[in-house]
Amino acid sequence: MSSPTTAGWFGPFGGRYVAETLVAALDELEAAWRDARADGAFLHELDRLLSTYVGRPTPLYHAERLSDDVARTAGRRAGTIRVWLKREDLAHTGAHKINNTIGQVLLARRMGKPRVIAETGAGQHGVATATACALFGLRCEVFMGELDVARQAPNVLRMELLGAQVHPVRAGSRTLKDAMNEALRDWVTHVRTTHYCVGSVAGPHPYPSLVRELQSVIGREARAQLFAATGRSPDAVVACVGGGSNAMGIFATFVDDPGSSAVRLFGVEAAGHGIDTNEHAATLSRGSVGVLHGAKSYVLQDEDGQILEAHSISAGLDYPGVGPEHSFLRDSGRARYLAVTDSDALAAFSSLARTEGILCALETAHAIAALPRIVAELPERHEGLDVLVSLSGRGDKDLATVRDWRERTGAAS
């Protein structure tokens, strides 16, 4: 029941709400993927690249000082919480995004498409797409909101150094939503020669399923690594959710396994200035069902069905939609979704740096910030609780944002 019942649907969510022109390309992609995943040579090449180029498996790290910090904040005894960080920040290019782009760019090559386009928010997906395209010698163009171009400048330079062309998008909110609009417009115009490398488990079918499958390596590895270390399954799995690809990547193996129904799944959205303000990106906490970017899912919208602008200090979570499977997991109760404000995420960013020596992405910092609240919801266990967290990306790209915030708030340390 957790995977699409009919192709492209997660319960009532998903589908293909796109211009007619694109339907043929989505059919072509779906067929190419069906073909490729049954092709041993393709899967072997993907595995080989994930291990020799991306650096998989990424480590699973028991963060002891963070664990004690979380236990203390949650009012639990020290030693009763074990936080395990799945280190996607150590994958090549510094985030989980590369798991998806290597797979999709391999597919693009297989389909004979010489040009790849992508949308990007924080720039991590843009960098990962540019990287994969450089690896295979394909042309790469990335659409990025003008506001994100400014706040994620290092990633813009990285994409350019990798040979990609970055198109700043000046329409609308000048963030991820509008970058995706512009990528769709480009795709419809160059559909015969271009593969659109969608960066999240969002968009029209087959993207939510395709990206989920390419990212599911995160959860499969983590589950095996945790079992090897502890002999047990995690009590909870935690990940930040913008479009939701790192979360689906770490959730998938638990969602698909009926024997894992006791493993609690938690997604953490961006509450921006607070979910009771108009400036947040908490689509699953505060949104309603709508259609955006080709799929039916929860969206932030007004009474007239106009999509609202989201807000988050983290460009990768600053999106008024969410992947359709998350909407399904929310409504079915399989996963629970919380929201964390900008300032709590920044505090968690600092705290992870001080306790563990890890500068994480601001997106990831939302998941870290939610840990005490999540732990407080879990029943106590004498032998201690194991909490698996997707450390989705590293924070180098966010240093300017963090510096501005420290200056603005006068944070001394």
Binding site: E20, V289, G305
Partner: protein, 270 residues
């Protein structure tokens, strides 16, 4: 019963010309001007009018219609407001106020109101059909049912990338006409091969036994003439929006009327 949309195409064909379909974005420059623009477009000879509902994320539109949509929203246009403007024109004493109108837009504002409620509201406002850019036939079931219940046409879109199977699928529930997108691209696209598009439209029309109108990128009377040579209808959008935006609101009806007259003159067949 033949719909008013179908009848408009039949009439044009009887006069040995293509039907002229004119798009405008509802609420641009403001809702108060929309009824006057509808009337000016009808009076100048448009056979069918496509009335756009502004949307925050118009992914199928080029810059001209994106900007019109943004202007309309900024001036306070909503889906209900645009339908009210249509109703107000229908109630006017204008001799042209019975011209068929297709409400044109994206799916989310419709879904927000509810398929059945939106179809009813559109019908009550005087719409003859709906055209939803991001709703291919596979997802259009409930809205098609709602339109049928209100005796409205849900106009399907076909594109150069549509397979024979998809052409047949689009034809299964179409009654008024079919919109053929001239090129893989967004509205207002340049460099379209109109002769090829019109020929393709002819083939589709023969296969489905329905009139087929060709849109996307038709901006001048010359473009219209090339499309009209083979196709049942010619759709002009971005050029009309540009004429509306090319001066003050008060002068917009006169500006657009001039363009529509020129386009209508180009729809005849030799």
């Amino acid at each position: 019963m033949t719909s008013r949309l179908r009848a408009a195409f039949d009439r044009a064909r009887a006069e040995n010309r293509a039907a002229l379909v004119v798009y405008l974005c509802g609420g641009d420059p403001d809702l108060a001007t929309t009824p006057a623009l509808l009337d000016a477009i009808a009076r100048a000879g448009a056979d069918v009018i496509e009335l756009g509902i502004p949307f925050s994320d118009p992914t199928a539109d080029g810059p001209v219609i994106q900007e019109a949509s943004a202007r309309a929203r900024k001036a306070g246009a909503t889906a209900r407001g645009v339908l009210d403007a249509l109703a107000s024109w229908r109630r006017s004493k204008s001799p042209h106020a019975d011209r068929p109108v297709v409400v044109f837009g994206y799916y989310n504002p419709i879904l927000r109101m509810g398929d059945a409620a939106f179809a009813r509201a559109a019908r009550n406002a005087g719409a003859d059909g709906l055209l939803v850019v991001d709703l291919p036939p596979e997802e259009a079931g409930t809205l098609a049912d709602a339109c049928e219940a209100e005796a409205m046409d849900l106009v399907p879109l076909l594109a150069p990338t549509s397979s024979d199977a998809r052409i047949a699928l689009a034809g299964t529930r179409a009654r008024g006409f079919v919109y053929y997108v001239s090129t893989a691209g967004v509205t207002g696209a340049g460099g379209v091969d109109f002769d090829a598009a019109a020929a393709r439209a002819r083939t589709i029309s023969d296969r489905l036994h329905l009139p087929v109108a060709v849109g996307f990128g038709v901006s001048s009377p010359d473009d219209a003439r090339r499309v009209a040579a083979h196709a049942d209808g010619v759709v002009v959008g971005s050029a009309v929006v540009r004429a509306i935006a090319g001066g003050d609101a008060a002068g917009a009806p006169a500006r657009v009327a001039q363009l529509v007259r020129d386009l209508r003159g180009a729809c005849g067949r030799a």
